[in-house]
Each structure stands twice: as C-alpha cells, then as structure tokens.
C-alpha cells in the first residue's frame, strides 16, 4: 500500500532555485521547487531531460549548492554532503580499487566501526543484493547489474536517513533493469528506508513509486504530484495489467501537456 498518508515528513525542500551563469545569460536549472518527502516512502521524480530533476537530487545530496532556498532533513538545514544522505549515482560509482566487500564496508569504516561490526554489516548487505560469493572481486570483474548492486549495498550499508537514486538503472539493458527494479522493491520493503528516485522512465516510476512527482520545463519546476495506488508487493505481472498501462499513459499525458511546446 502507498504509505504516504498522514506520515511524518522526513525531508523538506523550500523554494529551491538553482541558476547557472552562462555566456547566454542566466539559466534557471530549477525554479521555486517545493517538495516534501515522507518517512519510508519511495518517491519518484520524473520529467523531460533538462527539467532539472538531477539538479534537485545533487543539491539534496550536497554535491552542488542552491542559488536560493533551503533543504531540511527532519527540520535541520543541510549544507553539504552528509552520511545521512546516501546516493546511488547514475554512473557506476563503486571504487574500482576496492573489492566488493571493501566498497560495501566503506561508510562504516569511515565512521570507525570495528572489524567485526563491519563484517556483520557487509555480510548482511552483500546478501541482500545477491552478491554472496563475489565479495573479493574488483568492480572490473563485475557486470553492469552487479556493479549497480554494489552501489546499492554500499549506500544501504552506511545506514543513511534517506537514499537518493539518480537514474541508477539508466545504463542497464531492459531485462536487467526490470530485474533490478524488482529487487530494489524487495530491499526497500525489507529495509524500510526512504528513497528519492529520479528517472525519465515512466514505467520505472509507475512500477516503483508510492508517489510520482512530475516536473515540467520553462519554468523548470514541479507541475504535478500523483499518488500511485497499485498494491504491494508489486510483481513483474503488474507491468502488463491494463490499469498499469493506463496509468503510464496518464503520466505521459501530464508530461506531454507540459512539454508539447518544446517538442
């Protein structure tokens, strides 16, 4: 079930604006974005490319700074990268010089946890993403899907308050992508962690989310916030059900209305 209603707010984004100075003048990457993410929900942001959805994510993650506005995590203002905010990047981001195990235990190691505590955490999350037996391999020895699992396990192992995912499955082939979506839902249901998921893939958003936040262009801001009513746990069969197909069509219409003028 969608678990948005009456829930505690975890993350608040207030009047967030990001401007870039270019030779053609000031470009507004995003304008006046207001957003609430509730505890334990899986919220997807979709929008056409260039609408600034990844910009919002990188500002929440503390990687880039907003021009104005603020971001609050449980009422506390965020000003930079923080272990409370985990990120799964679009690119493969596992440290290539570390094995799967060393990657997964990276966060706990930086926090100074003991070897035995780290081992317990690593074992749990390596198992959760189905990488048991691959602990001692380097990322170069892994497939794309497996590398992504390392990224997810590493982010989870650091026990952040919220996980940001920036089109994490964008580089994967369709089959692997769908499999990863299903596995992500499984992990999410087991771990009860808030996920803020950015994608341009409508089906991905419809399949994963409790709530789809739709962004438009000119101005680059949120145009609609749609709850997703499909029950959980969601299985692969959902993708072909008429109500799912209809919902995808609806999302595409909402996006299409806004982007019509831009093609």
């Amino acid at each position: 079930m969608g678990n948005t209603g009456g829930q505690e707010v975890l993350l608040t984004v207030e009047n967030l604006t990001k401007e870039f100075l270019t030779t053609h003048g000031i470009i507004e990457a995003i304008k006046d974005v207001n957003l609430r993410i509730y505890k334990s929900e899986l919220a997807c942001v979709i929008g056409p490319s260039g609408c600034g959805k990844s910009t919002i994510l990188s500002m929440i993650g503390g990687i880039s700074k907003p021009t104005s506005g603020k971001i609050l995590l449980e009422g506390k203002r965020l000003t930079g990268p923080s272990p409370d905010i985990g990120i799964v990047f679009q690119k493969y981001a596992a440290f290539p010089w570390m094995t799967v195990e060393q990657n997964v235990e990276y966060g706990p190691r930086m926090r100074g946890l003991s070897k035995s505590e780290r081992r317990a955490i690593t074992e749990k999350y390596v198992g959760l993403v189905n990488l048991k037996g691959y602990e001692h391999l380097y990322p170069k020895e892994l497939s794309g899907g497996m590398s992504k699992r390392v990224d997810i396990a590493r982010a989870y192992a650091n026990n952040p308050r919220i996980l940001l995912m920036d089109e994490p499955f964008g580089a994967l082939d369709d089959l692997t992508k769908k499999k990863m979506q299903e596995e992500l839902l499984k992990i999410w249901s087991l771990e009860n962690k808030t996920i803020f998921f950015v994608t341009h893939d409508l089906e991905e958003a419809a399949f994963l989310a409790d709530r789809v936040i739709i962004m438009g262009r000119n101005p680059n801001t949120i145009i609609k916030d749609v709850p997703v009513e499909f029950g959980r746990p969601r299985q692969a069969e959902l993708r072909t059900k008429p109500e799912f197909v209809a919902f995808k069509k609806y999302l595409s219409e909402v996006m299409g209305n806004d982007t019509g003028e831009n093609g």
Binding site: G61, G62, I63, G80, P81, S82, P83, I85, G86, I87, F89, K91, A93, F95, P96, W97, M98, Y106, G107, M110, R111, Y138, P139, K140, R154, A155, N158
Partner: protein, 270 residues
C-alpha cells in the same frame, strides 16, 4: 545448421599450433639474435678492429678481469641512482598532490613547475657542482631534481584526472579530509604515476652517468671514462652494458610492483 568438423587433428596441426602459439615469443628474440649475431660476426672476422668494436668475448673477459672491483662500481652508482630517484620521486609526488588538488596552490605553483620543467637537468650540472661541490651530494641532487620534475608533473596531472564521482561518493558516505586523501586520492592516482615512476627510474641511470663524467672515483661512468682514457673499448662497453642490465633489472622490479598495485585497473584488452 553448422556442420560438425570431422577432420582429425594430426601431428602437423600440433606442430603448426605450437609454432603459432609461440611465434610471438620467437619473434621477440629474433631482433636481439640478429643484432648480437651481427656484432659477433663483425668483431670476430676482424672486419671491424677491436678498437672500434671489441668482440662479445673480449668484453666478457674484461669484466672477469676487473670483477674484483665490480661490486664497488655497481654499489657506488646504484646507491646514487636509488637514493636520488627515491628522494626526487617522493618529493615530486608529495608536492604534486596539493598542487593538483587545490585550485589556489595550482594557480601559484603550476607556472613555477612549467618554468622548471623544460630545463634539461644535464644543463644544470655545472651549477649544481658550483653550489654543492664535486662530491656525491651534487650528483644525488641532480638525479633527485630530474626525478622530481617528472613526478611532480605526472602527479598533478593524475590528481586532476580523478573522476569527481569518486570524491562525491566518498563524501556522501561520510569520508572527510584525510580519509578522502587516503582512500580515494592515493589509490586513484597510482596507475597514473606508475608510468612516471618508471620513466624517472630509467632517466636516473642517464643522469647518474652524466654526473659521473664530471668526476668520480667509481661507478658505471668511471668505467666508461677510464675505458676511453686508456683506449680500452672493452672496458667502456662493460660500463655501458652494466648500466643497461641494471636499468632493465630496475624496470622489471618496478613493473612487478606496478602489476601488484594496479590489479584492479580495468584493462582495455580484457
């Protein structure tokens, strides 16, 4: 449907396979065999007088004749090369790291590095002798200087080439300052600086011999200078070959170290 192969594998195929499999290795030796054969042939038939080209056997005999002194010559030169290389490379890496990392330090010191970089170290030998005397220290400083230039440039470049993705990932996982330095910066630049380290090591041999030409009592360069002074071309070649052999040896050791530290680097040919 693809028809199954029915032709039998006979001895001919085995021999052919053996040759194809090893042809790369055989070809590797071919060039060397030709050069040594040519040397052997030219010097032993007397077409080229020993003054210009002593035979391989003569060079070997000369080495044996002076073998009692060889450990001293080798130790003298190798000490300068190894110490100079180690100090210069270490300083180059240590200084390249902050210059490559910090925008401000980069702005200040990069023009300095770019100014020093084109200076041929050998052109500075007289200056170093003037400043530090004719002894070991001016030679060590020359070698260090040459290695420093190579490594400082190489390290700056390597630090700048680090994908910011990894820094951001480390930060979002809670790593700070020195932790990022130790767990991201250092490992990320290793593949980049290993090449520089090997170039520096090879260059050290050349700088050492040039410095020795300016005056020394032992070393590879001493053998070469003495060979010239007493018109002993065989002794001169003993010096040359010692440099070659030790340079190959050092390069081989560094390659072994490199392959250990870069196990994780994705290779394009895989």
């Amino acid at each position: 449907m693809i028809p199954a192969r029915t032709d039998k594998i006979g001895w001919f195929h085995i021999v052919k396979g053996w040759i194809i499999e090893r042809s790369g290795r055989l070809l590797n030796f071919l060039g060397l065999v030709i050069i040594f054969g040519l040397w052997f042939w030219l010097s032993n038939t007397g077409w080229v007088p020993p003054l210009y080209l002593p035979s391989p056997q003569a060079v070997y005999r000369c080495f044996i004749q002076y073998s009692a002194d060889m450990p001293m010559h080798i130790a003298d030169s190798m000490y300068r090369i190894i110490v100079g290389f180690a100090i210069g490379s270490a300083l180059g890496i240590l200084m390249g790291l902050p210059i490559g990392w910090s925008k401000v330090l980069g702005r200040i010191f990069e023009p300095v590095v770019e100014f020093i970089r084109p200076m041929p170290p050998l052109a500075l030998i007289p200056l170093f002798i003037l400043w530090f005397g004719i002894g070991n220290s001016s030679k060590l400083i020359l070698i260090s200087f040459g290695c420093w230039v190579i490594l400082v440039v190489n390290t700056i470049e390597s630090v700048r080439n680090i994908d910011p993705l990894y820094i951001n990932a480390a930060r979002s996982l809670g790593a700070k300052g020195f932790q990022i330095f130790r767990t991201v910066l250092i490992p990320a630049i290793i593949p980049g600086i290993m090449g520089g380290i090997r170039v520096a090591a090879a260059t050290s041999f050349g700088m050492n011999v040039a410095a020795e030409f300016m005056g020394t009592r032992a070393g590879f360069g001493y053998l070469i200078i003495e060979g010239r002074r007493f018109v002993m071309t065989d002794l001169l070649l003993v010096g040359v070959f010692l440099i070659t052999i030790f340079s190959i040896l050092v390069n081989w050791l560094l390659k072994l170290t490199e392959s250990h530290f870069t196990r994780w680097v994705p290779r394009k040919d895989l």
